[in-house]
Amino acid sequence: MTVLDIDRAGRVYGSGPLGVSALDDVSLRVRAGEFVAVMGPSGSGKSTLLRLAGGLDRPTSGRVRLAGRDLASLDEAGLAAVLRQQIGFVFQEANLLAGLTAAENVALALELDGVKPRAALAGADGLLGSLGLGAVRGRFPAQLSGGEQQRVAIARAVAGGRSLLLADEPTGALDALTGESVMGLLRERCAAGCALVLATHNVRHAAWADRVVFLADGRLAGETGPAAGPECLLGSVR
């Protein structure tokens, strides 16, 4: 099932001769359970693509459909509701609320979906436990390591069974091994059926994806096809 369908989307900032094209005729489809990484140099359009996918910005041409629904057909309230229910965001900074514990941060996302506080907290506990974060549930963000904070932020982003996860450099400030554990967690969410789009500069992290899509100057500049399988590689090292 296609979760995200970006269909020939373009985004021009400004107008007339001063208009700057940030994204030009880009199409991208992401299925449930699929992990797509978007790579490209600074200014290549990665963040613009993610903003369009997440409804934070609207395309000036083309369409963005979420679970078959054209985001342009929704009014502000309808859009906000769809985005809240369907999409989780993970950014470079975990942005947890300092006055709330890890579990309360996750529970807040569920409460915004209309879950009663007690049930939300129980749901948050269950989710943190399933993500291997049960031990930190009662800690405040300042008491968590960078990697733990980011994993709690991912728990918050996926709480409530969102179908699409959008991640913009979620491992930026983390060391290599901690970054890898965050990628492992994102990968697990895909195995659980979530669609994931990761924008990153880090090719090691992009390599966790099923497909890697390259942007250059706002346009698609190639993509890795389906995996060739480890045999071709093993031939060269084993």
Binding site: M39, P41, G184, R187, V203, R204, A206, A207, W208, A209, V212, F214, A216, D217, R219, A221, G222, E223, T224, G225, A227, A228, G229, P230, C232, L233, L234, V237, R238
Partner: protein, 176 residues
């Protein structure tokens, strides 16, 4: 330990990435014995059993304490290909870069999948080897990015628009 036992243990410890020729193992052991780094005694079946000597331990310690030498100028087909792509005018340099980037990222995806399996099997030796391959591939991709950025800057400095990957614009030409 017998020579054959050494071979199998070495291969197991290095996750079979570095297979040894058994003849080479015995040649090396004889040389080590000649240099006093190992001693050998025949067992009941007349097979040689090797043991490391004090001098051998000193040599081993030195080996641990010395960094592995880097190849000073590794053979780089890719670098040569890029240089000729630029000079010949026969190839789309951005296309060459992008094609290589895609191939390397694809290989990196494969290694990353192998790592996930190694991790769940607790295969530490294999995992370390795979990590090495990951960082080598990453280095290559970052180098390709650097090449592309440098070429783009040269184009801009020459008053030409930067080349876009995959387009059929003529390659950077250098009059020689």
């Amino acid at each position: 330990m017998h020579g054959y036992g050494l071979k199998t243990e070495f291969e197991a410890a290095t996750a079979d990435v570095w297979p040894l020729n058994v003849g080479q193992v015995y040649t090396t052991l004889s040389r080590l014995e000649r240099d006093g780094l190992v001693s050998a005694e025949a067992d009941a079946d007349g097979q040689k059993v090797y043991e490391i000597t004090g001098a051998g331990r000193d040599e081993l310690r030195r080996w641990f304490e010395t960094p592995v030498p880097r190849e000073v100028v590794p053979r780089q087909e890719l670098a040569i290909k890029l240089v000729f792509a630029m000079r010949s005018g026969m190839a789309d340099v951005a296309g060459v870069l992008q094609q290589q980037r895609l191939a390397t990222v694809r290989a990196l995806q494969d290694v990353t999948r192998l790592k996930a399996t190694a991790e769940s099997n607790g295969d530490l030796a294999w995992l370390l080897m795979l990590d090495g391959l990951v960082f080598q591939a990453e280095a290559e991709v970052r180098w390709l990015d650097m090449c592309q950025a440098r070429l783009a800057r040269e184009h801009t400095a020459a008053g030409r628009p930067p080349q876009r990957a995959g387009t059929a614009e003529p390659a950077v030409e250098r009059s020689s």
